[in-house]
């Protein structure tokens, strides 16, 4: 990408950032890293947020984390970035290593472990925000030269061990990650990563290039935190999946294979396949004769991608804006979930202009050797966790197509539902499902009554609370598992149950699951001693479809305002009838005392 300071400032100044939702980033550091701010603000703006960065005082990591010196960590913080550079923390380990005894090395490592642990606990006492802790950099030139690599107690080994300790310590906390600074260093290269002039002039070690790379790495974590990572990769075919034009050059003429020049496309397809296995949904959008394209998929000996990997395809001569819109509809995904890859400047510009929500990647067809790297470097699909649902998403969309066919054959909706043989499993959240439930609150936009976003840590805290229930459901039918796709959060106040969140993944809409989930949750509220349930509807740009959800389920509209509508259900006269078309509804709730009883 390589943006200049002027380009970034220009872009940021020309937008009304104040209108975007805020993103608060607190930076704890023992070096000068303020110049990362414009990059963070830029990446935040690109994902639709207005970032505010607050820096601890210089070399005040402990004072801030433990003592709250400046008070930049609190419940509103979204992300805590920690820049703890070894040079400032331990000159001995970083630069004077050749002069240390094994005992002294251990002593320093112990001191650092103790320091890190206390800082981590300090941060967590103040905020549940995501923690991104930069690993210690491995020395490009170890103090003992190449001899270092032979040493069990060498500098490289010692720093490696400290990083492993850091990783373990962070993984003991929810929503806390070790940011791999050495990967950033490797991508940029040590000669460009550091600005030695400003390291000496102002304790600012990192170059602009380094800070842009680190900022990019941070946002691979922050995007999924805010549900802004992308889910679907839409691919052009000619000069993207293979070199040349199939309609002109034919099956034997296109470039694709294990040797040059086809090897560039082979590697690119492998990377696409890797994304598919991580749960990225693949689609084709190509101006071509459809039969020609499928012939390549079926017949070409070096195709890695197969028709079964492709969830949906629009291969025709219509414009790509229309086709992309249709693809998003086919898949029931928003355009803001889509990355579109094409080699044509014209197509790329048109999509950028008409569908600004789509991330457009224009591949340089004269440099196909770079395709793989461009796709891998984007990080658009990255997430720090990978759930079972993520891994199987690609195949789940295939099952969805089979369901649609069945629906087309069914006489009416109820008989269609019944023919699906649906089994719905309803449970309280547990340690295995916290992440997925949090992920759903972060990602779901359409079927979501309140669109409240929760982190792992917040869901975990709610699940332990005596005055709340976090309930999820899992669906299975004759075509396969849809996984964990529905969430309801109840908060209890005396005899009232407030439905804090109620949402369904767009993957399972239109099957009456919401009816079953709501009934079970209302029964749960009643069994916990509630007489009234209160539903809320918070309108957003995307959840219009649920505006009448509560009135349609016998709730009575009560007070409210345009931002928040309230509905009530009298649980004492609630019939608790389950929808008739489920094969089985399997509900098991944790034992919990009635609310209000001691």
């Amino acid at each position: 990408m390589r943006l200049t300071y002027s380009q970034i400032q220009g872009e940021l100044n020309s937008r009304d950032l104040a209108a975007l939702p805020p993103l608060r980033i607190a930076v704890l550091r023992n070096v000068v890293v303020e110049p990362i701010e414009p990059y963070l603000r830029y990446f935040a703006y690109r994902m639709g947020c207005n970032a505010r960065c607050e820096f601890s005082d210089y070399d005040n990591v402990f004072q801030e984390a433990v003592g709250g010196h400046k008070g930049i960590l609190d419940a509103q913080t979204d992300c805590v970035a920690v820049f703890l550079k070894l040079e400032t923390l331990s000159w001995d380990l970083a630069r004077n290593f050749a002069g240390l005894t094994v005992g002294r090395i251990e002593e320093e490592a112990d001191r650092i472990r103790e320091f890190v642990s206390r800082v981590l606990v300090g941060i967590r006492q103040k905020t549940n925000a995501m923690i991104l802790w930069n690993s210690f950099e491995l020395p490009p030139h170890p103090s003992l030269g190449i001899f270092d690599y032979q040493q069990a107690h060498g500098q490289t080994a010692t720093i490696d061990q400290l990083n492993r300790f850091l990783g373990d310590a962070l993984s003991d906390h929810r929503n806390a990650y070790l940011l791999n600074l050495n990967a950033c260093l490797a991508r940029v290269g040590a000669r460009s990563f550091y600005d030695l002039r400003y390291w000496h002039l102002g304790k600012a070690p990192y170059s602009r290039e380094a800070l842009e790379e680190i900022g990019g790495e941070m946002f691979k974590y922050i995007r999924p935190l805010k549900g802004k990572n992308r889910k679907c990769l839409v691919l052009d075919c000619d000069n993207v999946l293979w070199g040349g034009i199939i309609g002109e050059e034919g099956l034997a003429g296109i470039k694709l294979g294990k040797t040059y020049p086809g090897s560039a496309y082979h590697e690119f397809q492998q990377e696409i396949l890797n994304l598919h296995r991580r749960g990225v949904v693949l689609a084709l959008c190509s101006k071509n004769n459809e039969a020609d394209v499928w012939e390549v998929f079926a017949q070409h000996p070096d195709m890695l991608l197969r028709k079964e990997h492709i969830a949906t395809a629009r291969i025709n001569w219509d414009d790509k804006v229309t086709n992309l819109t249709r693809i998003a509809e086919d898949l029931n995904l928003g355009l803001e979930s889509v990355v579109f890859v094409d080699d044509s400047q014209f197509e790329a510009d048109q999509v950028r202009q008409c569908l600004p929500q789509v991330e457009v990647v224009q591949l340089p067809s004269s440099r196909a050797v770079e395709y793989r790297d461009i796709l891998a470097a984007g990080g658009w699909f990255d997430a720090p966790t990978l759930s079972q649902e993520d891994r199987h998403r690609g195949t789940m969309y295939k099952a969805e197509e089979a369901r649609k066919e069945l629906q087309a054959q069914s006489r009416d909706l109820t008989s269609f539902y019944a023919s699906l043989e649906m089994i719905l499993e309803i449970r309280n959240v547990d340690e295995f499902t916290v992440s997925r439930v949090a992920q759903l609150t972060q990602k779901t936009n359409q079927f979501s009554l309140t669109t409240r976003r929760y982190s792992d840590a917040e869901i975990h805290a709610l699940s332990e609370s005596a005055s709340a229930d976090v309930i999820h459901c899992r669906l299975q039918d004759r075509f396969g598992e849809s996984g964990l796709t529905g969430v309801c959060i109840l908060r209890y106040e005396r005899d009232r149950a407030l439905i804090d969140s109620f949402l369904l993944s767009c993957r399972v809409l239109g099957r009456g699951i919401e009816d079953a989930l709501l009934v079970q949750c209302m029964k749960r509220a009643r069994s916990r001693g509630c007489t009234v349930a209160v539903g809320e509807y918070r309108p957003t740009a995307k959840n219009e479809q649920v505006k009448d959800f509560y009135p349609n389920h016998a709730f009575r509209r009560v007070a409210g305002n345009p931002e928040l509508h309230y509905f009530e259900l009298d649980l004492t006269s609630f019939d608790g009838l389950e929808p008739p078309y489920f094969h089985r509804i399997d509900t098991q709730f944790q034992y919990r005392a009635k609310v209000g009883s001691q």
Partner: protein, 85 residues
Amino acid sequence: MSTRERVLRVVSEVLGRPVASIDDDSSPDNIESWDSLKQMNLVLALEQEFGIRFTDERIVEMLSVRLIVAAVAQLGPQANSDSER
């Protein structure tokens, strides 16, 4: 645009002040927001703008707009070839 004008534009961008409020004598001494961080941002922005690289010894001397323009101009053909001619 002359080298001087380009420098003034970058200074104004980095400091977030109108170009008109900046002249050759502007310096960290008479512009309050021009602190050491802004100075660093300014140097790096100028390097990007002109495709040049200052030495650390040069950087510590760049203490006013006049001195900055001189430092940029001295760094060779890229800066000069873009000047007013």
